[in-house]
């Protein structure tokens, strides 16, 4: 079970959190300009990296804040966490 550093609450056990998927995607802002393929890639396509991955976690049984986590999908090591506006890098290497 992971130990996750919530940027608001500190280190807590994984059972307090809910996983929320890839945090490197950005939702297209202008719908009239977005190509169908671009949109569908945003909705459906996800990288499945072996190594560092930037992802959303929700402190669902805690402060109810969403935040970013950089986690190694191979070793489970969490090397950084940050608020939604933080830049934890690109994720997959």
């Amino acid at each position: 079970m992971l130990l996750i550093e919530c940027p608001y609450c500190g280190a807590r056990a994984q059972i307090e959190f809910t996983y929320g998927g890839d945090a490197t995607l950005s939702r297209p802002g202008d719908l009239s300009a977005v190509e169908t393929k671009e949109w569908l890639d945003f909705v459906y396509l996800r990288e499945n990296p072996r190594g560092p991955h930037i992802e959303w976690w929700h402190h669902s049984a805690g402060c109810r804040r969403w935040f970013k986590v950089r986690r190694d999908t191979l070793s489970h090591e969490i090397s950084a966490t940050g608020t939604p506006d933080s830049n934890l890098g690109s994720g997959s290497v």
């Binding site: 130990l3 056990a13 569908l40 459906y44 969403w66 070793s75």
Partner: protein, 1002 residues
């Protein structure tokens, strides 16, 4: 004390004043407090304790600990029966009942032993090879084979015992309380660390219990007691006995299974039987010791062949002699200590057989010579002979190079053969922590190499074997762990341990003694799974050269002992056959649990009713008194219907549903999800998360909203009310309350953080009742403290704040049933009070409380959708909700609705169905033209909701159907092949009652 023929008259850590009675296979015996079941059986001369897995060979106690492959018993009986417990780990208690396993009809006479005679015809992979022909026949054979396989038999009743879990944190967790673990704990505690020390035995000391060599001139058990006393008196230190660390997980989380009342022999009403500790440690010291390796030679599985260290342990710790005439067969010096132990226990040692040409170290040789024991250096035991027990061992001259046997075989009579092939550090937890192993050529074993977590191994667990070396290593590990926690290393003198032998010689790796020329025999590598050296050779010939494949093909290293005594021998044999080195062959993956953990303990208190929390509305007690039958909705309990005496369930449901349409009904809707949305961008936020318009909603008005996922499918529906300019009150469906809240928070916090919006879940803070039916306004007029409820003042989809019997309420004029209806929400603490007042006011209108069943009928009659329709595969236009859709701007899922597959023309639409012949329309039925046509049938649609309508007196249903407008008077069939029901139906408008919607607006 009753006669225990193999008990030594004095000595050992057993309490001779406390005899304990027990039974094994129904026979009565007596042991002593401090015994394990294994030591008590040995004290009584019981050698045959089980039958092997495949060949049903006779097996005896082989070890003295968790590595035991043979002595598996079923403990207790009835609902408390537990199979596959190691007799070597079961602490003896008064009245203990144990049974041997794996035989029929009895342990002594087992028909399954025919497998042993037939073993030439049952090679490795026998089942794979034999029962695959003819193709598909396995399913037939399997029924018979299953009866003869498997280990032990689980209890068939509900487990009556209680289990619990506990979370704990510490700075230094020490696993194992042998000399290294005790030294480490001592050093960590003296450095000021918060320490948890975990020991699976019921007594601290580890190997010191069998090798009680003096430490600091103290008898080892006294030194252990001293350390234990110091640890106990230290602040923030906890010693867990009878506690096995079985799993090492991410971020230094170690799972420990502790036996609390198992050794009491009875369950204490207020005590849990076992407890799982989840220990999160800053630093972990693994002082898990080492497990002795057997030697592989012909018929090495006979009862009476035992690990040398175990023989010593039974003699020294338990005061039990395992035999009267022993032969010791060992490739290392440590096992020579067994010679003295056997002699002191009153036995004789017929010979020490040592495959090393040069024999043991000088000091060892001097001691053995002084004891007058015959030494055979450069010899090996090639075969054991016997039946229920070993009777002799045959030795031959052995040359390591080429592994050659020469000379005349000599048969030595004995009833005990102590074997030692060296030691394997217990690296299981280390490996679970993702640490990398290294093969140590000197000790011929795998040792920890590179750590991946905040952990260090100490003592025998990392290949240190001399007592002094182990103590120093433990102290250093404890100090270093404390230092890594930011503490200062304690300075103190390292305890001084006395070595058994001062000059020792290196061990000689010996993986399998060859069979003498022209002889046959089984040389067991894995005793539990009956895997022999020849089986490994056969598997390699058949191409299973990878250690992981070998394991799965031969079952080497599987079972309850997970190959603790067999793995390294097995892969060394594999390496020698394929001409590779042991490190290159590698090990199989070590996985939790280290030893079997009972499922009850893993479940803890979260079983039965406590599996999940139960949520009750504030009116629950009232519902109970009113005769409600409850149904679960998520975690909630909701009234399903209120049974009157003499009524069937459906009578009650139809009575309730009719009452709403004819007079007035009341239903508890407190379970709805409720979210308060505040902030100056609240309306903007709602426009982005719903498909609807919100900015034009006036204060004091409600609106029905549809929420999509980003892929365009409907996530949830509900009404949202503008309570104030920048405050909205949203309701969600009961079971979606949590997911919708998380969904909204995600968008508010991560996608549109610039919006000024604040979300608060108020589901628990507000309770609600829906009052529905033509008389609902009259009822409310009586209940409310003078509020103006006229149609002009509170129109359909209007909102009003007032009081009911002085309690504040929010009234929403909205309908689910299609009747004139209101929802009355109130702070939960007032809810029962308000509910009662509403019922009082309704008395003159004969208000009828109704449950979820009637509510469901009413909404089907009205064609309202619920989760059955909003099943994650439907889009707004399927139900005509596209009319609600905002024409311009962005909202979640909007872009996906442009996909061709989500266009109305490509999809099924929402319709009603009426049964033509009055039969019930089956749930989940598919709609077809002709159910008897050739398969596959083209499916036109499917039934989503179905019921008997007591108001229309018809069987009706809601469905999604291709070309919903185009079926006219056509007869379709609602076909349910599973239940063989095929009901003719006609297609109608999905709103059966008041399609113009006049009633709720009246």
């Amino acid at each position: 004390m009753s006669r225990q023929p193999y008990r030594i008259t004095a000595g050992g850590l057993v309490d001779r004043e406390r005899p304990l009675r027990f039974t094994f296979d129904g026979r009565k015996f007596t042991g002593l407090a401090g015994d394990t079941l294994a030591s008590a059986l040995l004290a009584n001369g019981v050698r045959l304790v089980g039958r092997s897995f495949k060949y049903h060979r006779r097996r005896g106690i082989f070890s003295d600990g968790v590595e035991e492959p043979n002595a598996l018993v079923r403990l207790r009986r009835g609902e408390r029966a537990e199979p596959n417990l190691r007799a070597t780990s079961v602490e003896l208690f008064e009245g203990l009942e144990a049974r041997s396993q794996n035989h029929w009809p009895s342990l002594e006479f087992d028909l399954g032993a025919i497998n042993n005679l037939a073993s030439r015809f049952m090679p490795t992979g026998f089942y794979y090879k034999t029962f695959t022909w003819p193709a598909g026949a396995w399913m037939f054979y399997e029924r018979f084979i299953r009866k003869t396989t498997g280990l032990g038999r689980a209890a068939e009743h509900h487990d009556p015992d209680r289990y619990e879990k506990r979370y704990a944190h510490c700075e230094v967790l020490v696993v194992g309380a042998g000399p290294a673990g005790l030294a480490a704990a001592l050093a960590a505690v003296r450095s000021g660390a918060r320490v948890i020390l975990v020991e699976s035995d019921f007594r601290l000391g580890g190997s010191l219990l069998r090798d009680p060599r003096p430490i600091d001139d103290e008898f080892a058990p006294e030194w252990v007691s001293g350390v234990e006393a110091e640890l106990k008196s230290a602040p923030n230190t906890r010693i867990l006995k009878r506690a096995t660390a079985f799993g090492y997980y991410d971020a230094n989380l170690v799972a420990v299974a502790q036996r609390i009342t198992d050794h009491e022999g009875k369950s204490e009403r207020f005590l849990s039987r076992q407890r799982i500790w989840w220990v999160r440690a800053r630093q972990v010291v693994l002082a898990t010791g080492a497990i002795e390796r057997p030697l592989v030679f012909a018929e090495n599985d006979l009862p009476g062949v035992m690990l040398a260290s175990a023989v010593r342990s039974y003699a020294v710790r338990y005061g039990v002699r395992c035999g009267k005439r022993a032969v010791v067969f060992a490739n290392n010096d440590d096992a020579y200590a067994t010679v003295a132990a056997v002699l002191e226990a009153g036995g004789s040692v017929e010979a020490v057989v040592d495959p090393r040409a040069g024999g043991p170290g000088d000091s060892v040789r001097r001691q053995i010579n002084a004891l007058g024991v015959r030494m055979l250096e450069g010899y090996a035991v090639v075969r054991a002979e016997g039946g229920d027990s070993i009777r002799s061992a045959t030795v031959m001259r052995f040359t390591r190079e080429g592994s050659i046997l020469t000379g005349e075989p000599e048969r030595i009579d004995c009833d005990l053969l102590c074997v030692s092939g060296g030691f394997n550090p217990t690296v299981h937890l280390f490996s679970q922590s993702q640490g990398k192993l290294r093969f140590d050529q000197v000790s011929a074993c795998f040792v920890p190499d590179v750590s991946r977590q905040a952990e260090r191994s100490a003592g025998a667990a990392r290949g240190c074997f001399g007592l002094q070396e182990v103590l120093s290593d433990g102290v250093e590990a404890g100090r270093a762990a404390a230092e890594d926690c930011g503490l200062t290393r304690a300075r103190f003198r390292v305890p001084e341990g006395t070595e058994e032998f001062t000059q020792t010689a290196a061990m000689l790796p010996l993986w399998a003694v060859p069979l003498p020329q022209g002889q046959r025999g089984k040389r067991f590598v894995d005793l539990q799974n009956d895997v022999t050296a020849d089986d490994i050779a056969l598997a390699v010939r058949e191409g299973y050269r990878s250690v992981e494949h070998l394991k799965r093909y031969t079952t080497l290293g599987m079972g309850t002992d997970q190959g603790r005594t067999s793995n390294v021998n097995g892969l060394a044999i594999l390496a020698s056959i394929v001409g590779s080195e042991i490190p290159a062959v590698g090990t199989t993956t070590f996985r939790p649990p280290f030893t079997p953990v009972t499922l009850g303990a893993l479940g803890g208190r979260e079983v039965g009713q406590e599996f999940a929390p139960v949520r009750r509305t504030p009116m629950h007690a009232w519902h109970e008194r009113a005769g409600a039958r409850f149904v679960t909705a998520g975690l909630w309990l909701r009234p399903q219907y209120y049974a009157h005496s003499g009524e069937s369930m459906m009578d009650a449901v139809y009575r309730e549903a009719r009452a709403v349409r004819r007079g007035v009904g009341i239903v508890d809707v407190s379970t709805l999800g409720k979210i308060e949305i505040q902030g100056r961008d609240a309306a903007e936020f709602l426009e982005r998360v719903y498909i609807n318009r919100w900015k034009n909603l006036k204060v004091g008005r409600c609106r029905y909203g549809i929420m999509l996922r980003e892929d365009g499918f409907i996530l949830d529906d509900g009404t949202t009310t503008r309570v104030a300019e920048n405050t909205f009150y949203m309701t969600t469906t009961t079971t979606n309350a949590g997911p919708v809240m998380a969904h909204l928070e995600y968008y508010a916090q991560t996608i549109w953080p610039q919006l000024h919006v604040h979300l608060t879940s108020v589901s628990d803070q507000w309770a609600g009742a829906a009052v529905a039916g033509p008389k609902s306004r009259d009822l409310l007029a009586l209940a409310c403290d003078g509020a103006d409820l006229r149609n002009e003042s509170l129109p359909f989809m209007g909102y009003l704040e007032t009081t009911v019997a002085d309690a504040p309420v929010r009234i929403f004029r909205m309908t689910f049933s299609g009747e004139l209806a209101y929802e009355v929400h109130t702070p939960s603490n007032f809810a029962l009070h308000v509910w009662k007042r509403l019922l009082d006011a309704g008395r003159e209108f004969e208000v009828t409380p109704y449950g979820t069943e009637a509510m469901s009928i009413l909404r089907i009659e009205k064609g309202h959708v619920v989760a059955a329709e909003l099943d994650g595969r439907t889009v707004p236009s399927d139900f005509g909700f596209d009319a609600l859709q905002r024409k311009e701007g962005d909202f979640i899922g909007r872009r996906s609705l442009e996909r061709p597959g989500l266009k109305k023309s490509a999809r099924r639409g929402f319709v009603g169905l009426v049964s033509e012949d009055g039969r019930h329309i089956p749930r989940g039925a598919q709609l077809v033209w002709n159910p008897n046509a050739d398969r596959p049938l083209h499916t036109l649609g499917h039934v989503t909701s179905t019921c008997y309508s007591p108001n229309l007196e018809k069987e009706i249903a809601l469905a999604l159907l291709e070309d919903p407008e185009g079926h006219g008077d056509e007869l379709l069939y609602a076909s349910s092949p599973l239940t063989n029901e095929h009901v003719p139906v006609k297609v109608t408008h999905p709103v059966f009652i008041d399609p113009q919607g006049k009633l709720p607006r009246g």
